[in-house]
Amino acid sequence: MVKFFHHALKFRKDVCIGCSHCMNECPTQAIRIHGGKAELTDNRCIDCGKCYMVCPVGAIIVEADDLSRIFDYTHRVALIPNILLGQFPEGVSISQICSVLMEAGFTHIFEVEHGTRVLEDAMTKMMEEKELPRPLISTFCPAIVRLIQVRFPMFTDNLMLLKAPLDIAAMYYRRKLEEEGISPEDTGVFYITPCAAKIAAIKSPVGEESSPITGVINMDFIYNKIYTKVKQGLSGKGSCCLPAMQPLQPEEMVWSLTEGEAARMPGRTLAIDEVSNVIEFLEKMENEEISDIDFLELRACDQSCAGGILTSGNRFFTVERLRKRAEEAARGNDSMIYDTAGDSIRDHFDYLNEHLKVTQIKPRAMDKLDEDMEQAMLKMRKVQEIMKDLPYVDCGICGSPTCNSLAEDIVQGKAHVNQCIYVQKRWEQEGKLQPKESMEILKEIWGEDKF
């Protein structure tokens, strides 16, 4: 099968204990258990990271770049989302955070949210285009873009074909350094990410040819680095050199939180966070039970990026801190040190606007039983037949998340009905299966060591 997506989430077979927590949590039913290990169906996975959150043994890892990679470049830009600043309690100042990043080897620090200024203008313009479908759906959250591709293909036309603030911020900063006479090959732009979906999007951009971002560093790694230094009292004294920039506006500071985009768009807007909430809503929208909405902000994590799987701070505190920062900034008291006489991203509007659009985002429907409708009908009939033998309990002992997913796996030749424990017991009763045989079947699913 053609692999559509690059995934940042990797399953470590040597660590996995086959507990199936991830299988039961996955919103797209992308995980099965076989041989005592979790296995991922690549084309169903949207990189939301729900599995990562529930894995009790850390068998799911998020593949990011090693910090040492930054030293391949003479100019090392840390692209930091506001969420990073929201990770730390009151006592830790923004300049302390930035100093530690500089000590770690970065030469420049730039806030991702600077990219929202250009984006908001482009989005507002798009909202005025009457011939575009409604609601227009934001492409801010890459896990949501993938969810729509695989589960809600009829809404791919509703996606706003625009880049994310981090791409815009990266493009701007690259250009700025180039104007200062620095060769593009010497510039490395590294994003400190709160989630796996952003990594996947950077490594294989949807609807873009290449990413202006060189690499990705996990936020939890940076968090630990900063917190250790601060706790040891080794940092925070040195001055940190932020780029000469116009300060962030309050509304830009909360862009990545729930309502961040919806509050800025015209017309009737709605913001929904957490992937199962989003799925429930989009299912209703498919029936046109929901209409007359102009703009939809959809985010895969609860509390949006504050709940990103690589964050360390409590998401509710993060939201509180960032809102507080925005309120303070509105009063003119932002603690980030800016050279207000500096450059404005607005000076580069034309350039950024030219590079803002992404090409068409294609549907990648995963629900179909077969490409050919007649074959799909035959398979559906078989699924119905198999379902008569299954208990509708969705216990997962067969290694599939639900009875229905087992039935579909059987029809696709990936499983056997005797994997169902209810079927096994019935067949044992009827003398069709020996207890020894059913034990073998269970061992095949859950591994030798479990029995």
Binding site: P153, M154, E283, K284, E286, N287, E288, E289, P363, A365, D367, K368, L369, D370, E371, D372, M373, E374, A376, M377, L378, M380, R381
Partner: protein, 144 residues
């Protein structure tokens, strides 16, 4: 004979909390059968309108779905007051819905016209005090 599948769903009159259940089930089936997403969308919108019509106006009803590789035929049959003047009911904005129903966001008088707009073919028959039968047909291989 080409492969053919049939499904049946009961619809309760007056139960708006469950309105949309049958349409959702039909949508899931069509997606699994790899029906073109544009056709799935139109089918589901038309069926949902019809389902809400049964909930809003009738005592009870049944939705019969008949699918083969050429077309989708959906028959929405109800026991209810019937429609005295079908031509009038087909006019956009014409509505008999009570204010209570309108408050719930239904009854804008767009139901039947919207069904017709989304379906490739639509037939209505109705008998006052008996019930209404609406049939919609979607063609799958129309390369218009």
């Amino acid at each position: 004979m080409a492969e053919r599948m049939q499904f049946e769903y009961n619809v309760d009159g007056g139960n708006f909390t469950r309105a949309g259940f049958a349409s959702s089930e039909i949508k899931k089936i069509l997606k699994k059968l790899n029906v073109d997403i544009g056709i799935v969308k139109r089918t589901v919108v038309a069926t949902y309108e019809g389902e809400v019509n049964i909930v809003a106006h009738a005592y009870s009803g049944t939705i019969y779905v008949d699918i083969d590789t050429e077309r989708i035929r959906i028959n929405l049959k109800d026991e209810g007051p019937g429609i005295p003047d079908i031509d009038q009911a087909m006019e956009e904005g014409y509505s008999t819905a009570s204010s209570q129903v309108r408050e719930m966001g239904f009854g804008a008088g767009m139901g039947l016209p919207n069904m017709k707009k989304n379906a490739d073919e639509m037939h209505i028959t109705s008998e006052v005090d008996k019930g209404t039968e609406v049939e919609i047909v979607m063609f799958l291989n129309n390369k218009e």
